[in-house]
């Protein structure tokens, strides 16, 4: 203020002002300067939409105070933040306009007009999305970027319903929380809202579209391509969402509705129902990233599914899953399911009938045929009608399959039987040498609970014209990373000719009994057992070929075989024997070997009988298990001649 000029100053205390969306307490205006054109507006406490600021101050260098107009065309918000601001109030028309230009192209305007019906229009142009934190400081995520254009129109009549219409577009939106578990980048989208009502009672509908960008909302990552429309109403008691429809570009539609009690925050009733969803994008977009590094992480999928769920008073009352022509094929060839169809309805308080089936499957490339059966679905368990899976030319029958939900997961049980499958057919599928005989068997009862698979009774396999019985079979975490299996095995009357021919071991004619007690496998490899293989008692032809003698000897290291080759015995193709037997007690990677009887130097594996007769002796009592396997593989691979070092 220059000295000499006429100086006047006015300070007015206005008190409190209030509108539908704001309240200002302790409002004071101070005017000074030439023509009182310099104004300072102070608000002790300003509340807008429940958000409160203290000590707000606006200064104005070109203030006009006329009978019907109060205007500040070049004002400045000084506190709590510094921003250019302009406002004009026309008392004759009752209109007010406030404009804020924080910088750049960003501009906010608020216009209020009308008397009987007040109209308020809030417009944002090129607004920084981060400003939402001014209104909502406690959001779980920080808005890191984004430009918003939007309009909000509110009509407030003296009587009747209020109308709210909002429309906004976001571009280059970005948000993240501190841990990075909820974040979005490059977001482009729009949202529109219409609401009508008064007091606590409102009807609304809204439409949102997310057209570009990506979001990670742990554990789901997704790219844009969603549209959501919804409508509903809310009052003092309930929030009701009706006809919410979420459309995903390539996946399909999900429809939902819900009624929520506002006091108890409980779901009174709700339903979610999908349209026909495409399995391929559902898998690649939502499931695959989370399933990476598991057995289900590399699948080729196809097919369609539908799912629905209903809740009543906070509890799930109904659910259903329908699959149509779904296939899932492991790209590493470990397993595959083809043409799966299913109709699986579930009810909290009743029984339903479902059906399930498939056109085929593969396990380790072993093809399984078409299967179909019905299910008796109850609230906590499922009984599955007996069915049969074609396995090559045989049939695996599954009886009394039954699943039950328990506190620590799903428990199940099943009985099974396999009708004879030619071994040659099965082995050919695994690229193994052909073998005569058939494979068949019965599995009395398999139970699975608490990640342990146990077989009750004896699992019987008929193979090599004899029987193999497996008892006390237990597998701990069969699908886990460290499966551990224990069992006792007993084999009776196996045709040695079939066994030895199958493994190219060199022919032995006779019958074999075997007992492997206390067998423990870790990761499907033996770590412990007491095994004893011996010729069966009884009367039958017993011959052992030169090759087999050499191979048996080679298993024990060098020694006996060399002796055979050096002696006159090398001119015979086969020998008679009266007994043969070998034992191995595996502990800590070492096989403690024995034979049918001990000799001064070692143990006897083959005891001669008939003409010409031959005894095969073993000398090394302790052989490393890995070394033994290597020798066995070498013997089988070399087919005829063992390598003698």
């Amino acid at each position: 203020m220059s000295t000499g000029a006429v100086t006047r100053a006015i300070e007015v205390s206005i008190g409190d002002l209030a509108g539908p969306t704001f309240a200002a307490k302790a409002v004071r205006v101070a005017l000074d300067g030439a023509g009182l054109a310099h104004a300072r507006l102070q608000i002790g406490e300003l509340t807008v939409f429940d958000r409160r600021w203290r000590d707000v101050e606006i200064s104005c260098t070109a203030f006009r105070l006329e009978p019907s107009i109060i205007a500040c065309d070049e004002g400045r918000l000084e506190r709590p933040v510094a921003l250019p601001i302009a406002f004009r109030h026309d008392a004759s028309s009752g209109s007010t306009r406030i404009a804020v230009s924080p910088g750049g192209e960003e501009r906010w305007t608020v216009e209020a007009s009308g008397s009987d019906t007040r109209r308020v229009v809030v417009r944002a142009e090129a607004a920084a999305a981060a400003r939402v934190h001014l209104l909502f400081p406690d959001l779980p995520v920080r808005i890191g970027g984004g430009v918003v254009d939007g309009t909000l129109r509110v009509e407030i009549p003296d009587t009747g319903d209020m109308q709210v219409d909002g429309e906004m577009r976001v571009r280059a939106g970005a948000f993240a929380d501190a841990a990075g578990l909820h974040a979005g980048e490059g977001i482009v989208g729009r949202a529109a809202l219409h609401a009508q009502g008064r007091g606590e009672s409102w009807r609304w509908h809204s439409e949102e579209e997310w057209s570009q960008g990506e979001v990670f909302w742990s554990p789901v990552y997704s790219k844009a391509g969603f549209r959501l429309t919804a409508e509903g109403r809310f009052d003092a008691q309930t929030i009701e969402v009706a006809n919410a429809t979420l459309s995903m570009d390539d996946v399909g539609e999900i429809r939902a509705s819900a009624t929520i009690d506002r006091q108890s925050q409980e779901i009174v009733r709700a339903s979610v129902e999908t349209g026909e969803l495409a399995v391929t994008p559902l898998y690649t977009r939502f499931l695959q990233p989370a399933l990476a590094q598991t057995a289900l992480g590399e699948l080729r999928t196809e097919g369609r599914l539908r799912a629905s769920m209903r809740w009543q008073n906070g509890k799930l009352t109904q659910a259903a899953l329908d699959l149509e022509d779904v296939s899932a094929e492991d790209l590493r060839g470990r397993f595959a399911l083809f043409g799966v169809y299913a109709s699986l309805p579930w009810q909290a308080g009743g029984r339903t009938e479902g059906r399930i089936g498939m056109s085929g499957a593969e396990v380790q490339r072993l093809p399984l045929g078409a299967v179909g059966t019905f299910l008796d679905i109850r609230p906590e368990e499922v009984f599955i009608d007996d069915f049969a899976v074609p396995v090559l030319s045989g049939l695996l029958t599954l009886n009394d399959l039954h699943l039950r939900r328990e506190a620590d997961g799903i428990a199940w049980g099943v009985r099974a039987a396999l009708t004879p499958v030619p071994l040659a057919e099965m082995l050919a599928h695994f690229g193994l040498p052909a073998m005569q005989g058939t494979l068949s068997g019965e599995i009395p009862l398999v139970r699975y609970a608490q990640s342990t698979l146990a077989v009750d009774g004896a699992l019987t396999i008929r193979v090599f014209d004899g029987t193999v019985k497996v008892t006390d079979l237990v597998v701990d975490s069969p699908l886990g990373l460290a499966p551990r299996m224990s069992a006792d095995l007993e084999a009776h009357n196996l045709d040695l000719a079939l066994v030895t021919r199958a493994y190219s071991f060199g022919d032995i004619t006779g019958r074999l009994d075997a007992r492997i007690a206390d067998l423990v496998l870790s990761d499907w490899k033996p770590v412990r057992f007491d095994a004893r293989l011996a010729s069966s008692p009884g009367d039958y032809p017993r011959r052992i070929s030169q090759t087999a003698v050499e191979n048996i000897s080679a298993l024990g290291g060098a020694g006996a075989a060399v002796a055979v080759q050096r002696s006159v015995l090398r001119f015979f193709e086969s020998f008679g024997y009266s007994k043969l037997g070998i034992s191995c007690r595996l502990r800590e990677g070492v096989c403690r070997m024995g034979g049918i009887e001990d000799t001064p130097q070692g143990f006897m594996i083959v005891k001669g009988g008939g003409v010409p007769a031959i005894n095969v002796l073993g000398y090394n009592r302790d052989v490393g298990w890995d070394e033994l396997l290597t020798r066995l593989r070498r013997v089988i691979d070399s087919n005829v001649t063992p390598t003698i070092q």
Binding site: A176, A179, G180, L181, A183, G184, E185, E214, V215, F216, S218, P219, V220, Y221, P289, A290, L291, A292, Q293, T294, G297, S477, G480, L481, A482, P483, R484, L521, S522, D523, W524, K525, V527, E588, G589
Partner: protein, 148 residues
């Protein structure tokens, strides 16, 4: 333990070995137990963990993944990873932790003392933290993250 000798230069294996030795030596009653810890399952678990270690290494370095105090790994700061890869980092962490839990269980089981699992896990937890490279994020006893 024969199987470990061939690749002992790996710091990773060194941790496993040192815990096993440390554990055996830690109590005389336990030292008397016949520790048959070289099982095929332990071999396949350590092989799988070793293979994954190469995938985890850049995430340890960037601070995305940290060594938690409970013998596992945990997401420390996902913001260090592009959005599209974050679900996969979660999957790698889940797979690693599954392996680790299976390993602790298998070591206890192979010792014939499944009830040692918690102790074995705690010992491993200490060693993983102690052996973490400088610059990696580790969790202290109270659960707070610090940069080594």
């Amino acid at each position: 333990m024969r199987v470990f000798r061939a690749s002992i230069e790996s710091a990773f294996i060194a941790v496993i070995l040192s815990v096993m030795i440390g554990f055996v030596a830690s109590g005389s009653a336990r030292a008397q137990a016949n520790l048959d810890i070289d099982t095929p399952a332990i071999r396949s678990l350590t092989a799988s963990m070793q293979q994954r270690h190469a995938q985890l290494l850049p995430y340890y370095t960037s601070g995305a993944v940290g060594v938690s105090r409970d013998g596992l790994v945990a997401l420390h700061n996902a913001n260090a990873v592009p959005l599209a890869q974050r679900a996969q980092v979660n999957a790698i962490i889940a797979a690693e932790n599954q392996d680790r839990l299976a390993l602790y269980r298998e070591i206890a089981r192979a010792n014939g003392h499944p009830e040692w699992e918690a102790d074995i896990r705690a010992k491993f937890g200490e060693r993983w933290v102690a052996k973490a490279q400088s610059g990696w994020w580790v969790q202290d006893a109270r659960g707070a993250w610090r940069r080594k």
